[in-house]
Subunit: 204 residues, 2 copies
């Protein structure tokens, strides 16, 4: 299989009665001046009742002798009809913490076995448009473990993911190169890369 073969063949309006994963809602609110207004917003239907987040993104850095490298993925995404450069990521299951979801998703999608270093605040993907959100979980990958030599991802039948590594100090250039090759770039990666460039520029 090659992800380049994947292709949207039909785009149709989705009826409210048909929607299983997504929904649109109308929020009626009082603005800061007390004026009543409405706002349209998109939501996932999948957030577990006891969860404050939809999912997690995973920052997995391999500390190599040649410098740190970050684990990235290529994944075909029907909403864009493109192969997207993304961090490992996934939705949280019922009763699962962000950290548990991160360790599980990283193992399933990449095969890497990891330990949690730090969990981020909740981040909102596009707060004027939708309520979707995630926590970023930073993990360490011990490359001396046998499981991390011989990677065995466990993908679902509708998941197509290619894992690759990028040197952290060239992530910004790599985003630009991959876009020029026709890939779409996920905002999390591009913003991480921009942060790295800002730190370099201002010697933080």
């Amino acid at each position: 299989m090659s992800q380049g073969e994947a292709k949207v063949i039909l785009t149709e309006p989705l009826l409210e009665s048909e929607a299983v994963w997504t929904k649109l809602v109308k929020k009626t609110y009082r603005d800061p001046n007390g004026v009543k207004r409405t706002w349209e917003s998109a939501e996932r239907r999948t957030r577990p009742k006891d969860s404050e987040i939809d999912g997690v993104g995973i920052v997995a850095i391999l500390e190599k002798e040649t410098g740190p490298e970050i684990v990235l993925q290529k994944q075909y995404r029907p909403p864009l009809d493109k192969i997207v450069i993304e961090l490992p990521a996934g939705l949280v299951d019922e009763g699962e913490t962000a950290e548990q979801a991160a360790i599980r998703e990283l193992k399933e999608e990449t095969g890497y076995v990891a330990e949690v270093l730090e969990t981020s605040p909740i981040m909102f993907n596009d707060p004027g448009f939708c309520n979707t959100n995630l926590r970023m979980v930073h993990v360490s990958v011990d490359m001396s473990l046998p499981e991390n030599q011989d990677l065995k991802p466990e993908l679902e039948e509708n998941e197509f993911i290619e894992v690759f590594l990028v040197r952290l100090d060239s992530l910004w250039e790599e985003c630009k190169r991959l876009e020029a090759e026709g890939y779409a770039i996920d905002a999390r990666i591009a913003n991480l890369a921009e942060g790295i460039e800002l730190a370099k520029k201002f010697k933080l």
Copy 2:
């Protein structure tokens, strides 16, 4: 007015026939194995026909003697029913480039007059859920200009924005502090902050 007064009072399903700003679509696609599948996706209805992006985010850094500071905003967002810490940002108008939109929005929202330094690749906010995207435009703000001493934002009647500055080297700590105070954090800022922390940690 205080943004803390704003509040959602009713959340209802939004009918397809009522929606003006948003829509749900069903994508029928062939997966990389040639299997026909469907995917639900959310979209904005506002992207100009000739535009490949919905909007822009603006990275405006003030270079002060005490170190670089980034321009941030507090804005009440009905989809979250919270005040969100965001970068200056906005939707592109018909016929407008990312750079033009960035300079216009920064002026309208903050009063700062700026010049473009660099424009990012297109970034997708949540590629498994929606097609919304933006370019980040990095700008320089010349603090010796009189317009940048006496700021005159030009907000629309339904816009409520408070502008503030954060030291770039403490952006990550500030995100955590602001979340603890009850603010929601936009992903672009939090990911920039994470990138800065990664660069510090690995001495990039």
